[in-house]
């Protein structure tokens, strides 16, 4: 059986793919990651994670358009699959349920 748990970094990348929609390819995702978190990351690391998420079935990908600054090379655009959506929702629900049990926050 395939591993279906989601690590923290994986979760963030998955969310970023959702946010970026049409622009979800490795370079943009790593750029966005740096912008959002302030942490630096190599494209290779992001690519490797995208690859892993695809293997788990959370992402689909297909080759997209090319542009001159890429030297005419196409990019691989990632999209979240239904399974990916469900895993993200489950992760969010799990956190919300944990937050709800947190007494320091329950009473505002």
């Amino acid at each position: 059986m395939k591993e279906t748990r989601l690590g923290e970094f994986e979760e963030v990348i998955l969310l970023l793919v959702g946010i970026l929609e049409e622009d979800a390819y490795a370079f943009k995702i790593s750029d966005e990651f740096e912008a959002q978190t302030g942490r630096s990351v190599s494209i290779g690391a992001v690519h490797s994670t995208l690859n892993r998420l695809s293997e788990k079935g959370f992402l689909n990908s297909e080759m997209g358009a090319s542009s001159p600054e890429r030297g005419g090379r196409r990019k691989r655009i990632y999209t979240i699959t239904a399974l990916g959506h469900r895993v993200l929702t489950e992760a969010k629900d799990f956190r919300v349920s944990l937050w709800n049990q947190f007494p320091g926050l329950a009473n505002g």
Binding site: Y25, A26, F27, S30, D31, S42, I43, G44, A45, H47, S48, N51, R52, M63, S66, S67, E69, R70, G71, R73, R74, K75, R76
Partner: protein, 873 residues
């Protein structure tokens, strides 16, 4: 900024493309380009480029790298190995010959290199090794001859200089003088006593600086005080444990020396390590020797300087010579210069050539490095020839592979991996051989070599060696095999071009040149060693025992002689001032004779003996008579040998007067020349007188043939009676004599071994080549048979080819071997002649081994029924 160089770094891109999976290349390159341009727009170009590198390196992840995870590559590698293993297994005899040949070669190489490495380690363990220099003298005689000597006697003009070098030459930080107490001609193990404990130990004399300059570990007591004054002694752990329970307990205790002096133990040091060429069980201050409190062992004193860090030995020796120039004794007619030799070289470079350090054991080390490389080359050539010969069988396989679409590169890869597999097996076997035979090898060479298995360099160099050998041995066959043309190969047998046959034959000739060279060297070495040990020395060295004169042995000599002579097993007793096989004392000035010309210099060996010396030694008197106890004037008489007569230049010597120091007397007889020392040197003039009251020297006992045991028992009894304060300690003359040639013997033994191995390996190669040739020439021989050739004819025809090769090798090698051997023999004053039969013998051996090796194949060829070989076409 000019848009000139603002593209991503090309090298990084190439690196990326080299390792990246092909299907990822487009997207990744695109992403990295975008990253690069966005970085370049935001900041400097340099940073963008650096970042590009950074990104490339971060793509070194399992998911992105091609080769290792690439399935086809893996499959090919596994395929190669599998095919390799199968082909090794499928022809067992060939594989065994090939692998064991290479393994033998490698094992010999490893053994020799271990030996060489061990020799080079000598005296290399001192931490200040780079700054330690030995002083040597270059003495220019009136004749212009240059003599070198490691000796730095303190009593000549240089003495002042050598002692005060510390204060006169700023670069010299410390000075040490070292002399042994056990070397010839007068040295011997000294007797130490504490209470009832008596032991004989060999030690040396040195300056107080000794322990500061050299790294001999002091384990108890103090380094500074170790030999600070003439009553101090430093002893080894071994010696401490002989007398005391522990090293610590020894400190401050006193030990009696030769029943004469008392020394206080100030330090105990760890036994001298095996890589130390200085050997000593104890050390005392050298002042003892200079003040004549203890006796000199030899005139040899080694002076070592500790130079300042970074000081240049050339400059220092120049300063020393400038200082020495004004202080030389002009009347001696000699001109002495001083040179410095690295201390660590003193063991290997022990000889002198034209006044400069040269030769010595270094010659053997170089010789053996050459032998090791020879053997490795022979083994590699062997491997090449056998592998190429095998291609007859492989030809079809190659052709089919090519037809199916295999590329040349892939074929080379496949064969290389097969050969690599074989070399690795050979390596494994070689290490196994070395590992299991190392104890025997150590015994053989008298060393204590251990495999440095914990050292990284050892494994590193093994790995490099493995790759070099597998490449050297495997490259040619792989290229050769992969170049076969399928159409031709599939049609018939593999045909070799003239060029490749010539190359193979050339290799065989070269291989045999090396083997023949080794063989001739072995024959010469063995012959010379035998010549030394078996040739008549001029006296009978069997059944002679000698013992040091000490304690009461001199004062009670007459009693001892009478008592011993009456005991069972003992034939005769006499004495001599030096052991008969090692008379090393030489003088010229104190000897004068009737008719000596002014300025005539003859170096004599003066020796004082007992009345029966010529009888006990079996020496031949050629003129006059020998000493006679009953003639009173004979205690003042002299005998000389023929060489002395010759050099003194006198005729009718009997009755002429001769003098040695204060003693003057008549010559009563002339002795036939006999060898008084190593065969390396010529027999020297000898002058003999009788002194039966010398406090030093040796007692010589001749035992009756076959009664050595009884003789020893009798001797022990008498000696304990007469000389109870000293342990009974004796030497057999013939054994001691052979010890003078230890290094020659080791070399000759090693040469025998390795020459044998080289020949075996070469023969394996020849066997392979004859197998190959047999396959090539089946048809030819078949036709010959059909046309009426008989078996003898076929065998001769077949063997001819190889005999020609070996004969060619023999012709090439012989002159070279003659030159080399002649050069080596020049080192001996008495040597065998390099007569033609030595070479003839080597040639005969090689040719018969060749015939024997080839005959197996040739017989097979001759026996085959021609109908079978000619049937298919």
């Amino acid at each position: 900024m000019v848009k000139k160089n603002n593209t991503p770094p090309k090298l990084a891109e190439r690196l990326l493309l080299w390792f990246l999976k092909e299907q990822l290349a487009e997207e990744v390159l695109g992403d990295l380009n975008e990253k690069f341009y966005s970085e370049a727009a935001n900041g400097s170009l340099r940073r963008a480029k650096l970042n590009y590198w950074h990104q490339v390196i971060h793509y070194l992840r399992p998911f992105a790298i091609k080769s290792i995870s690439s399935k086809t590559q893996n499959t090919m590698l596994i395929h190669h190995l599998k095919i390799g293993l199968r082909s090794i297994r499928s022809s067992k005899s060939y594989s065994i010959i090939n692998i064991s040949g290479l393994a033998l070669g490698l094992a010999s190489f490893l053994f020799i290199m271990l030996w060489v490495n061990d020799e080079l380690q000598m005296d290399n363990f001192h931490s200040k090794s780079q700054q330690l220099y030995n002083v040597y003298q270059t003495i220019e005689e009136q004749s212009g001859n240059l003599n070198g000597s490691p000796n730095t006697p303190l009593s000549n003009a240089g003495a002042l200089l050598l002692d005060s070098a510390e204060s006169e030459i700023p670069e010299v930080k410390m000075v040490n003088h070292y002399a042994t107490g056990y070397e010839f001609p007068w040295g011997f193990p000294k007797t130490f006593r504490r209470g009832k404990k008596l032991f004989k130990l060999s030690g040396s004399r040195a300056s107080p600086n000794f322990f500061k300059m050299f790294d001999y570990t002091v384990i108890a007591g103090s380094k500074q005080a170790a030999i600070k004054d003439i009553s101090s002694i430093a002893i080894s752990r071994k010696m401490a444990l002989l007398f005391f329970d522990s090293p610590e307990e020894a400190i401050g205790k006193s030990l009696n020396y030769e029943n004469n002096l008392d020394f206080q133990v100030q330090a105990v040091f760890e036994d001298a390590p095996q890589h130390s060429s200085l050997e000593f069980d104890y050390l005392i201050n050298i002042e003892n020797q200079i003040l004549h409190k203890v006796e000199w062992a030899s005139h040899k004193i080694i002076t070592t300087y500790l130079l300042e860090e970074g000081a240049k030995p050339n400059q220092v020796s120049q300063k020393l010579n400038a200082y020495l120039a004004n202080r030389q004794d002009e009347s001696s007619g000699k001109n002495i210069r001083i040179g410095l030799q690295p201390f660590k070289d003193q063991y290997l470079v022990s000889g002198f050539d034209n006044g400069k350090p040269a030769n010595g054991k270094m010659a053997y080390v170089k010789l053996f490095i050459a032998v090791a490389i020879f053997i490795l080359i022979v083994a590699c050539i062997n491997f090449m020839n056998l592998s190429t010969a095998r291609s007859v069988k492989k030809g079809k396989e190659v052709a089919v592979r090519k037809v199916v679409g295999s590329s040349k590169g892939l074929l080379v890869q496949q064969f290389l991996s097969e050969f690599l597999l074989m070399t690795l097996m050979a390596f494994f076997l070689a290490i196994l051989i070395v590992f299991s035979l190392l104890p025997a090898f150590n015994q053989f060479t008298g060393k204590q070599i251990e495999l440095p298995i914990t050292e990284l360099w050892f494994w590193g160099s093994l790995l490099i060696l493995a790759f070099i050998t597998s490449f050297a041995a495997g490259a040619y066959p792989s290229l050769f095999l992969s170049a076969l043309i399928p159409a031709k190969t599939l049609k018939g047998a593999v045909r070799f071009s003239n060029r490749s046959r010539f190359f193979q034959k050339g290799l065989v000739v070269f291989q045999f040149c090396l083997s023949i060279l080794l063989l001739i060297a072995t024959v010469v070495f063995t012959w010379q060693t035998n010549y030394i040990s078996n040739s008549h020395l001029g006296y009978n060295k069997e059944n002679l025992i000698y013992l040091r004169i000490e304690g009461n042995l001199n004062s009670k000599y007459n009693l001892l002689r009478k008592r011993l002579t009456n005991m069972p097993g003992i034939a005769m007793v006499d004495r001599s001032s030096e052991a008969p096989h090692a008379m090393n004392f030489e003088v010229s000035d104190p000897i004068n004779w009737e008719g000596k010309e002014d300025g005539q210099i003859v170096n004599f060996k003066p020796v004082s003996v007992g009345f029966d010396f010529t009888k006990i030694m079996g020496l031949q008197v050629v003129e006059g008579r020998t000493f006679n106890r009953n003639i009173a004037s004979d205690s003042n008489a002299f005998m000389v040998n023929e060489m002395a007569l010759n050099e003194m230049g006198i005729k009718d010597p009997i009755g002429k007067w001769i003098s040695a120091w204060e003693k003057k007397g008549r010559i009563i007889g002339v002795i036939k020349d006999f060898h008084t020392h190593s065969f390396r040197q010529k027999i020297k003039p000898l002058v003999i007188d009788v002194k039966e009251d010398l406090y030093f020297g040796e007692i010589i006992v001749r035992t009756e043939v076959g009664k050595t045991k009884e003789a020893l028992a009798s001797m022990e009894q008498i000696f304990e009676e007469i000389n109870p304060d000293y342990p009974f300690n004796y030497q057999f003359l013939d054994t001691e004599y052979m010890k003078l040639y230890k290094s020659e013997e080791t070399v000759s033994k090693l040469c025998n071994l390795f020459a044998g191995l080289a020949i075996i390996i070469s023969c394996l190669g020849l066997l392979g080549l004859s197998m190959f040739s047999a396959q090539q020439r089946t048809k030819e021989m078949g036709i010959r048979k059909v046309l009426g050739a008989n078996m003898t004819h076929i065998i001769t025809k077949f063997s001819q080819e190889f005999i020609v090769l070996v004969a060619l090798a023999f012709l090439i090698t012989t002159p070279l071997a003659w030159l080399l051997m002649n050069h080596w023999l020049q080192g001996f004053a008495y040597r065998i002649d390099l007569s033609w039969w030595i070479f003839a013998l080597a040639g005969l051996v090689i040719v018969s081994i060749t015939l024997l090796t080839v005959s197996f194949q040739s017989y097979k060829v001759a026996m085959v029924n021609p109908a079978r070989t000619l049937r298919s076409e």
